[in-house]
Structures are given as C-alpha cells and as structure tokens.
C-alpha cells in the first residue's frame, strides 16, 4: 500500500532522511518509532505530497507522490503533529468543511467516525480553538477520516497526551484498522510500539530496524539482565565497570544491564557486585523491550560514526 524507496531529503547541511526504504502492507498498522528530529515528520510530509524528496520515490496505492499528487491526496487522511484545524470554526463547521472539500458529506461517512465523533458531539457548537487537547485530537482524527481515506497518516497523535487518553486513542486506531484502513503512525513513546503490527525504529534520518515488535525484542542479540537494588544510582555506576558491559539503564525501579552474549551469568554479576560491597540485590535474565532495542541500535550507530 505504501512503497518507499531510497528517499533522501536534506535541509541545507542537515540530512533529514538518508536512504529510507520501507513498505507498508494493506490493512497494516505501522509505527514509526523515534525521538524528535529523527525524520518522522519529513517522511510523512513527503508521503502526503507536502514536501518534495531530493531523490528516491514513494508510491501510495500505486500512485506516485510527486507525479500523481492530486490523486494521492484524495486517498489519504493526514493528522499533522500540530493542531491544524480552523480555531474560529466550530467543531461541526470544521468537520463539514473537510467533508465538502473532498466532495462528500458528514452523513455519507458518518459510520466511520461515529465512535470518535460521538465523544465530542455534545460540544459541536464550540469553537475548535476552545477545545481541550484530547478533544482537539478527536476532532482532528474525525476530519482526517471524513472522506473515507484508504491510508491514514498520523504524525505523533499521542505526544503530550496522558497515559489514559493514549490508551484510548490506540483502541480507536485498532478499530479503524479493523475497518480495513492502512495506518502509518509515528510516536516518540517506545511503549506504544507493541500496539503496532510492524514498526520501524528511526533515528537521525535512518531506519535502524524494521520488523514486528515481537520479532524485534526476541532477536535482541546480547544478554539482558534485570537488576533490582535499593541504590539505583550507585549500583548503575558500579555496573558500568563490569567486564563486557554494553549499557546500563534504569527502567523505572529496575536496572537493565546489557552484556555481550554469553559472557555472564546472574551469579557472576552478583559476585561482581558483592565484591564491590553491594549486597541486597537480585539479578535475573530478562527479555528486551523496544526501548532496549532502540538504545542498543543507537549505541551501535554512535560507535560506527
């Protein structure tokens, strides 16, 4: 449904995208995971024909984003990172505007937005600029959907949104996917990766890895240990000195220690720590999270630079 090949984009000296290739299947919920400045927005803007690539190509459902840009816009719905509806129009007027621009009506595709729009319908005469963050987000999604797009592109829809509203938003996406819409969504929250069918980890304009979340965490190439201690900061400083250490990072109240494959056992780590006077600790082998994978790949990349 989306075919991206060797996309390059520079802003002056800054490389925003470097040889990005990617394909998203029909009906897939695909996540672009990476921090601010990684290139997520640039990629999405190129796909939406709002920005021209320097080189490379992108095809959306058989349509070239440069040559067929008008047609591309008809089959895609886009929710930019910044709230971009008309603040002086009411909720209903905004929705009607987007429906009219695409030559349809609210009634015709109401079934598609019903679940989402119903939550803000009691406020339909309120100006969009006066809505709370969560309501703006629901209106923006409704407007992006009202022309029944085949592909939905959502740029950081959950940034700055609290944990509960984020969960609800992902449940909405799941329902849209079940209706057959292909969804490309970006997020800086690594814990949202597991809610996607497949994900791409993006950093400094490069795709570091593309796979299903499960495959990505299961194929973690090194050993990962969950270390529990009373003195997180002190213990993490000590663990940085253990031979074959690749990284030590805190994950809430647990430390994740990554060591080269096969170099340690839980016992050898406990021995190392107790030799330094650290007792009252527990160490167990653990499975990686997406954030562990991201950190490992980021460190690899830094070393290769």
């Amino acid at each position: 449904m989306i075919e991206v090949k060797d996309l390059h984009k520079k802003y002056g000296d800054v490389i925003a995208l470097e040889k990005v290739s990617l394909s998203v299947q029909k009906g897939e919920l695909f996540g672009l995971i990476g921090p601010d400045g990684a290139g997520k927005t640039t990629l999405m803007r190129i796909l939406m024909s709002l920005l021209l690539p320097d080189t490379g190509s992108a095809i959306m459902n058989g349509l070239d984003v440069v040559a067929d840009y008008k047609k591309v816009r008809l089959i895609t719905g886009y929710m930019p990172g910044r709230f971009s509806l008309y603040p002086d129009l009411t909720v209903e007027e905004n929705l009607k505007f987007f429906a009219t621009v695409f030559g349809t009506t609210i009634e015709e595709n109401y079934y598609l937005i019903k679940d989402i729009y119903q939550q803000i319908e009691p406020f339909k005469t309120r100006r969009a600029g006066k809505l709370s963050g969560g309501m703006k987000q629901k209106l923006a999604l409704s407007c992006a959907l009202i022309h029944k797009p085949e592909i939905l592109i959502l740029d950081e829809p959950t940034t700055g949104v609290d944990a509960v509203s984020r969960k609800e938003f992902w449940e909405m996406l799941k329902r849209l996917k079940d209706m057959g819409i292909t969804i490309l969504v970006s997020t800086p929250y690594m814990d949202e990766a597991s809610l996607c069918d497949r994900i791409a980890l993006i950093q400094q304009g490069r795709l570091m890895s593309v796979a299903t979340p499960l495959k990505m965490t299961n194929s973690f190439p090194e050993d990962l240990w969950a270390v529990r201690t009373r003195k997180i900061y002190d213990t993490s400083k000590l663990l940085e000195l253990i031979p074959s250490m690749l990284s030590v990072n805190s994950f809430g109240q647990v430390l994740h220690l990554v060591t080269k494959k096969g170099m340690h056992t839980a016992k050898s780590i406990i021995q190392f720590l107790s030799a330094q006077g650290e007792v009252e600790i527990s160490v167990e082998a653990s499975t990686a999270t997406i954030e562990d994978v991201f950190i490992l790949l980021m460190n690899h990349h830094k070393q290769n630079q």
Partner: protein
C-alpha cells in the same frame, strides 16, 4: 538527602476560572532535597497549580508558601528563588548558548564573575565547552533540553519546576537528563517535575496524582504500587485515572 523541612507548603489551595474549579482544595508539602512527581491526565489541573506555585497566577483561596515566601504578597521573591523549564519554552533559539546564559544570569541578578565561573563549569559538565557560540536553534533537541535544565538551575535556586522536560527526547538522552536531576538534588535543589512517562514517575521520591482538580493519591512509588496492587506506576495511574 530529603529533609523534613518543607520548601513548598500548600493548604486548601483553590483556583476557579468562572464556574470551573481547576484546583479543588489541594493540600501537600514538598520537602527540601526531594524529587516530587506531579502527574495526572490532561486537564487535571497540573499546569494551573504550577503557575500558582511559580507566582504567575493568583489562587482564589488557600495558604501557600514557596521557598519560605508567601504566594500572594511575595511573588517576586519566589521568582528569584526558583528555576523553571518546560518542554515547550526553554531557551531563545536565535541566541547562542552564551547569550542565553548571559540573558538568564542577568534576569536572576547573578554577579558577572559568578555567572562566568558557573557557565564554564556547566558547559564542561555537558561536554559543550566548544559550542558556546552556537545558536540554540542549531542544536539537537536532547542537547537543548539538558542545557535548558542546567541554565534553569544556574542561579542555584531552592526549587526547580520541570514541566514535561523529557517529551519527545530519545531514550538515552532521557536517562542522561535524569542523571542531571539527581546531580541537582545532590546539591540540595528540590525538584518538582511533571511527566507523561510513567517509568519516570518511579524515579521520584514521592508522586502526587491529580484527577479532576484534586489530588487523589500522594505517596512514594513503592507504597502506591502496593496500595493499588500494581506492578508499575503505569498500572497505578491507569487504575486511578480511568
């Protein structure tokens, strides 16, 4: 490092906007040297409370002291004794690192010699000594956020308020940022922080959770997890806020 000496005291804090009650009778204390997490859903009233504690907005009623100063009559003194940083506004993009520091140092009335000494020390700590003449706008986000935090505590405030300081930051920088927070605490600075990353709530000494203008829970992460029978703070938050 936490003492029993309160640096923020909030008693019966109420803030109304017309009929809307943004803060509904808040009561809490923050102790010197503490990392105090302030979390809650969007619209729960966090920003309103922070604005009041920073002396930027007057409460409708209640008694509050920040850094020993009264929230109604001594807001200018409060402002001199706190630092503030948010994800949205931190530094001036068109100014260089050095110019931003000079600007903030001036605002907080730092002595020039003091400012120079602390600037050198700070840039070295951040590995940015060679970049003093770079414009902020040219720096990667992670650097900006670390720098913004360091500048927010340059005048050695009693309390620093951090409003979603790590939003959108990569996972490595996010943790480096928290190391900076720990270092500030070592120096005796009290940290008041909001975040949407629930793993970060676990790094706080105590966490207050707001919903609909009220504080619905306030305790150490450990005790909150026990009370709500949750494996982590994410579960605690979902149980409380949903």
């Amino acid at each position: 490092m936490i003492s029993s000496e309160p640096v923020i005291t909030v008693k019966n804090m109420v803030k109304k906007f017309g009929d809307f009650v943004a803060n509904d009778n808040l009561n809490f204390e923050v102790y010197k040297g503490e990392i105090f997490g302030f979390i809650g859903a969007n619209g729960a009233g966090k920003t309103t409370a922070i604005r009041i504690l920073c002396g930027l907005s007057t409460p409708t009623s209640g008694e509050m002291k920040v850094a020993g100063f009264d929230i109604y009559r001594q807001t200018e003194k409060i402002k001199r004794n706190i630092g503030y940083m948010s994800q949205k506004f931190s530094l001036y993009e068109d100014l260089t690192i050095n110019e931003n520091i000079r600007f903030y140092g001036g605002i907080y009335g730092m002595k020039i010699a003091d400012r120079k000494a602390r600037t050198a020390e700070m840039l070295e700590r951040l590995d940015l000594s060679a970049y003093g003449n770079r414009k902020i706008g040219d720096l990667p986000l992670g650097w900006k956020q670390k720098l913004a935090f360091s500048i927010a505590i340059l005048h050695n405030p009693k309390i620093v308020f951090l409003d979603e300081p790590t939003g959108g930051v990569d996972p490595i920088t996010r943790r480096q940022f928290w190391n900076l927070i720990y270092e500030a605490v070592e120096k005796g600075i009290t940290v008041f922080v909001t975040t949407h990353y629930m793993d970060e709530a676990e790094y706080c000494d105590r966490v207050s959770i707001m919903a609909d203008g009220r504080i619905v829970a306030l305790d150490t992460p450990e005790k909150l997890k026990k009370r709500y029978d949750a494996a982590n703070m994410d579960e605690v938050f979902l149980k409380i806020a949903r």
